[in-house]
Symmetry: none
Subunit: 198 residues, 4 copies
DNA sequence: ACTAGCGGGACGTCCCGTTGAT
DNA sequence: ATCAACGGGACGTCCCGCTAGT
């Protein structure tokens, strides 16, 4: 990795946190300069605009989180176990989030939806990846007779993601892990009682 | 109502939409000037700062939405009916939201949590009102023997609100009502199968 | 004179000075409030707008100056004497102007010419009065054989007024009576050598 | 010339006209923004205040006019010819002024005298340059025996400048070139009969 | 005639995102 | 990668001319 690449990484690393905490509109290049110790020119050497940096930072963060999520289910062959792992991924997420500021996907989705089409496109992409992960797991679970055949995989995805993200919002708002913890507990019970083929 | 009051209302009306669509950071005073047709002096006569205006606009919007919600359960005496009405409140919310830009409480909570303490305080207030409404409904349901005594009212609130808000986020992100509709359907089933005393 | 009339006079008296010193654009209603000790309402009782007040103040001042000028030639029957008195009117005008700030006609003409049509109209009116006074004097001088028949009265007016006003400007600019004094001396010599029928 | 310098020139060019037509008090920064197509930042990058811009614009205009005046006498060795050229400079000045709005020196002198000390200082400077030009011409004329030795050069300057400026004011007020034309004709006759050594 | 308030808007500071010269 | 400069523009203060209520 060249020196330039390291600089690029540093910028991304710092920018990700700032964007996630203060939002895209709420973060200025000055903030990023201060955080990285670089000058504007140094930043513009690597990213052609603030928006390009924001997108890169978002993708950078989401790739990392996605890796973590994939890692969490690696080795788990049983679809029920996988689904459980995907839900359990959010245990401790509030206390020790991979990126300060809460769930970057939630934050970016909410800020970008009406105002920043490019960011929104990327948010959609990563959200779709996540949904796909859940859908495939449910598909396989049904195939293998572990999950109820009446389930609609995409509905499960909506429910799981929606519940987790909504609870994350509550936990962030109140600065209190209770909500996200409850969501995890509840979803596990939901899997147990309504997903598992008994 | 004096002329000044009308102007104040107009400012709030226009500002609410802008803040909800573009966020607090993403809305400039110029935007509000353009939307209201007023100049800076005309706005600062009524609000002492952009933040004060944002807070007033948020409260103004939440008061209206809160009214709608209260109206939706007015006359419903049965706690189960009330809970159903609170869930059903989100039917059609995406297609015809009271305020353009989606759920203002969600948007404000997400934007304010780390960066704007005053706004966050107000977001907490209204969220707590909403939770209280659900908690009291569940309390009464248990008292009257209509709901299971093992329920923890605040957990029900977390689940209902979390699921609805998370689904709203998904619907906004994809510009697709499916997600919020699924959440409503699911929560009704949840009430039927896990809340109702059978 | 009623109390109201006295107030009106006071406003005019104070406003005249302010307008003449700071100009129409450079004088605010606040300045006039401070100078008169009145509130805005008190001023607007007597004048319907700032412009109306400026026009009234200008006319008020010019009427007084015109009176002084007429007074200066009163009793002088000889056209040459009259012309001399009209020129001599500016002796001491710089040191003790009837209105602080220099020649109000000059000031108003210069400020109003491109920007304030109503004021300009009034400035034209009073300037025309002055020119007419000179023209008539020259006319009579020619009739009576005291002035050269080849003179064009309006040319004399242009020359006399122009020279005096230009010199007033110089004296104001340098805060030095020399220029206006020279103009008076010169014009008297001019009358002696080029106007008087010898 | 860098881009910034071009912008600076543009601002001066536009501001000069506005100030000369509407006066310093009568011209707002907004007017200058509109005329230049720049925003506030673009203007304040080049001038630290409205007053600094007004002063720069005035000097910019006066330098140009001064050049024109110097150009008008260039090559003329005979002091009488030079004086004639200085008077003749005002021929056509009203119909085609170098800067819209009339004589900027007159306008600035009249507006600034009581109210804007910095501008007044600059007006004095340029007026003194002009007077010096006339004084030196008369000095040389006397030295060379072309002009009467009894002349006081500064008196000639007062008379020439005063007459021209006063007549300019009349022409502007009435929107009629007659007055300034008469002044030029008269001053030439004055030079012929009272300045020239016969 | 006072008082408070209205909406308009001037001014200026500071920072924005961006560019270009070094 | 630095650094200075550029033009854009957000924010806020203060005062503008004017109105309305008392």
């Amino acid at each position: 990795m060249t020196k330039g690449d390291i600089t690029r990484e540093t910028i991304l690393e710092k920018a990700v946190t700032l964007f996630n905490v203060y939002g895209y509109s709420g973060t200025s290049l000055k903030d990023i300069m201060d955080a990285t110790g670089l000058q504007k020119g140094g930043i513009y050497n690597h990213f052609e605009s603030k928006e390009a940096l924001a997108v890169a930072a978002f993708d950078y963060a989401m790739a990392r989180i996605s890796d973590l999520m994939v890692h969490a289910i690696r080795g788990k062959r049983d679809p029920l176990e996988r689904l459980d792992a995907l839900i359990g991924f959010f245990e401790g997420y509030f206390e020790k989030p991979p990126i300060e500021g809460g769930c970057m996907l939630l934050n970016t989705a909410v800020e970008s939806d009406d105002a920043y089409p490019v960011l929104r496109e990327h948010a959609r992409h990563w959200m779709s990846q996540w949904r796909e992960l859940i859908r495939r797991t449910v598909d396989r679970g049904i195939e293998r007779g572990k999950m109820r055949p009446t389930l609609v995989p995409d509905e499960v995805a909506t429910l799981v993601i929606g519940t987790l993200e909504g609870a994350m919002m509550l936990s962030k708002l109140y600065d209190d892990a209770t909500h996200i913890d409850r969501a995890v507990v509840y979803l596990r019970q939901y899997v147990d009682t309504q997903v598992r083929q008994s």
